[in-house]
Symmetry: C2
Subunit: 404 residues, 2 copies
């Protein structure tokens, strides 16, 4: 008998009919001889309704009260899911994050899990029951209700799978799995059968938003094998697990596109040791997440610094830069432009060379100008003009032979 | 410095604007130098929405899951109320029933409070904060979320007031207080300044549905003085407290009307000891709540039993009676008719005679036929034809000089 954790997101439990569908899928899994823990999110739309009521009362609501408010969404879903299972003859019982002993630090709205006791979940499973666990929530040592941040239900699922030593964790969502590229953009993109944690992380941080990154990191840390699959059909999904030797045969697993980047050029900086450190420490302190960085020596002993940030962070970045270098203000100090980032990802790159050359060649042939480049062991990213972004993604996808 | 518990029902926190209104009233109470605990219900309508979703998934939902589901209503309100108080500069913190240490037995959907620790409420009050407590909910020794039954927020308020030894518990609702009769029915009904627990209980059980009876009983048991008052104006309400000597000067405090009664006649019963016991034990076991009872000896050694039940219980009562006396089935065994019950209530009856005579006389003058009578120390009830009910209420109200 295997123990399977299944996570269903807000769209999958969006209304009464979809909850019935989830119940039928859980029943199938149980009828196949498995123990099942189901982790659910709030019904889609509920969280936004609650937030809008909160904002109507207080434009800057207290984070502790926000957690108190938002966790009702998942609590509703677990009770409804249990009732739907009872209606089709499946014994089931719901548990809140607190009842499942999901202990977190006290950082409301973005708490980190510190330990999981599991409460009586294993006992309920052994008694033949399906256990439905509220995603997204935990409790602090002081007994306060905390939440794990947007998308935190993925983390809840991976974490409870780790705590219960589950055989498999299925992340059931509205896509069939992880693709070689976004299928809405690249019609012949193909579903990947398996992927390493690191590839999944690089694909996610490069714009393939299938899952919350923290959940993938947690899975990697505790070696939880998980499968990204559809809530609406029975196609096999994508298995994400520790890197296997065979994975290196595939040089490039996928192409990711992130259109919400901005390129910032800070020019006329003093060319002396410590300038870069001062700049990037100030940006980090202001919680601006910097991605690619290039430093050029300018003329007259001045340095230019080029880096990318998420587009939403431009304003904050500008404030920080202006405050950090008040004397150098010269009008051209700070310049921001929209940028798209195309990345090729694959653990096979570790043992294969020529990936960068092939990427640059494909883009050059299509006359796409590369503004910035950054590389990691398993990823090469290029920053390009957003108007070229979608074409470039298709061209790169084809160049690496990723089509179905 | 006084400690005041204020309870606001679902209508009083029905939407964002009404929650703002509650926040302002709480601020006023606090600005006057009081410590304040606020007990709130779910926004009006929310509970019914949740129930209808549950019923769509399962016509007979599990009671434990029902409690898990319904308690989200109050949890939403406490968070929103805290945010509204923060917005007007009042330090406030919300607490669930579990966090307030409201321990109950495990009887889901109708749990009884067994003890209240109060959690850290007193500490928060002493730190200058308003504490907002979720009504209606508690938790069992096994850590399961329980609810106290419909109207349970009244009980939460009285119970926390008892646990914290509050100076006053204000039940803020959509009426100005307790009236000598229903003002919609009797235009010159007047608001009572004070009332004893027993009178309040008799008025409530006789159809003046201002508050849940269990809450009043709890207040009586722990001697919690409470005030029924409006959420929407600042008029003084009705103080309910232990009987004081002065209360006896008022012979009749109010007239209550309950139109949802039924009179059941069970005829041709064997006239031997144990028949009544058998009948009423069976009804009690089936949870049929019997009110007035009259036994007549019929002809030929047969007995007739007449009693009243809430109209919704007729069907259940008939099943029980038919099952209890299978041999006597004669066609006329069971007969049910709608009945209205008019009651006059007052602790002064204990030391004054002539109330019954005055009541019967007033009804006789108006040609209202009395079908049944029952009396307690502080109440006389008559069962009459529902078509006479509203006129009778006005006539009795006038006869006892209760008009404003």
């Amino acid at each position: 008998m295997a123990l399977i954790v299944q996570k269903y997101g807000g769209t999958s439990v969006g209304d009464v009919d979809r909850i019935k569908n989830v119940a039928l899928r859980v029943k199938e899994t149980r009828d196949a001889g498995n123990q099942v823990v189901v982790v659910v999110s709030a019904r889609s739309g509920v969280t936004n309704q609650l937030i809008s009521r909160a904002k109507a009362l207080n434009p800057n609501p207290d984070e502790r009260e926000m957690d108190m408010l938002l966790t009702v969404g998942e609590q509703e879903t677990i009770a409804l899911t249990a009732m739907a299972l009872h209606a089709i003859g499946v014994p089931a019982v719901s548990r809140t994050g607190t009842q499942a002993g999901i202990l977190t630090d006290p950082a409301h709205t973005r708490a980190r899990i510190t330990s999981i006791s599991g409460g009586d979940i294993q006992k309920q499973l052994d008694a033949g029951k399906v256990v439905i666990l509220a995603g997204f929530q935990g409790h602090s040592p002081e007994g306060q209700i905390t939440t794990l941040g947007r998308g935190g239900s993925d983390l809840s699922a991976i974490a409870i799978a780790a705590a219960l030593k589950a055989d498999l964790c299925q992340i059931c969502t509205d896509v069939d799995g992880v693709y070689t590229a976004d299928p809405r953009l690249v019609p012949d993109a193909s579903k990947l059968d398996e992927l390493s944690y690191e590839e999944m992380l690089e694909l996610a941080s490069s714009g393939s938003k299938v899952m919350q990154n923290r959940a993938v990191e947690f899975a990697q840390k505790f070696n939880v094998v998980f499968e990204v699959r559809s809530s609406f059909n029975n196609n096999p999904g994508t298995i994400v697990k520790e890197e296997a030797a065979s994975m290196e045969d595939v040089v490039v697993s996928g192409v990711a596109l992130d259109k919400n980047q901005a390129k910032i050029v800070v020019s006329d900086l003093p060319d002396r040791p410590g300038t870069a450190a001062k700049l990037f420490k100030a940006l980090a302190d202001a919680d601006v997440s910097v991605d690619m960085i290039v430093q050029n020596l300018g003329r007259d002993g001045k340095a230019n610094m080029t880096f990318t940030v998420p587009r939403d962070d431009i304003y904050r970045a500008e404030k920080v830069v202006t405050a950090s270098f008040p004397d150098e203000a010269s009008g051209k100090l700070f310049e921001a432009n929209d940028l798209a980032k195309v990345s090729v990802v694959g653990v096979g790159m570790r043992s294969h060379s020529g990936v960068a050359a092939k990427l640059f060649e494909a883009l050059a042939e299509a006359s796409v100008n590369i503004q910035l480049v950054s590389t990691s062991e398993i990823k090469i990213s290029v920053g390009i003009d957003p108007k070229d972004a979608e074409d470039a993604t298709r061209i790169v996808h084809a160049a690496f032979g990723l089509g179905a």
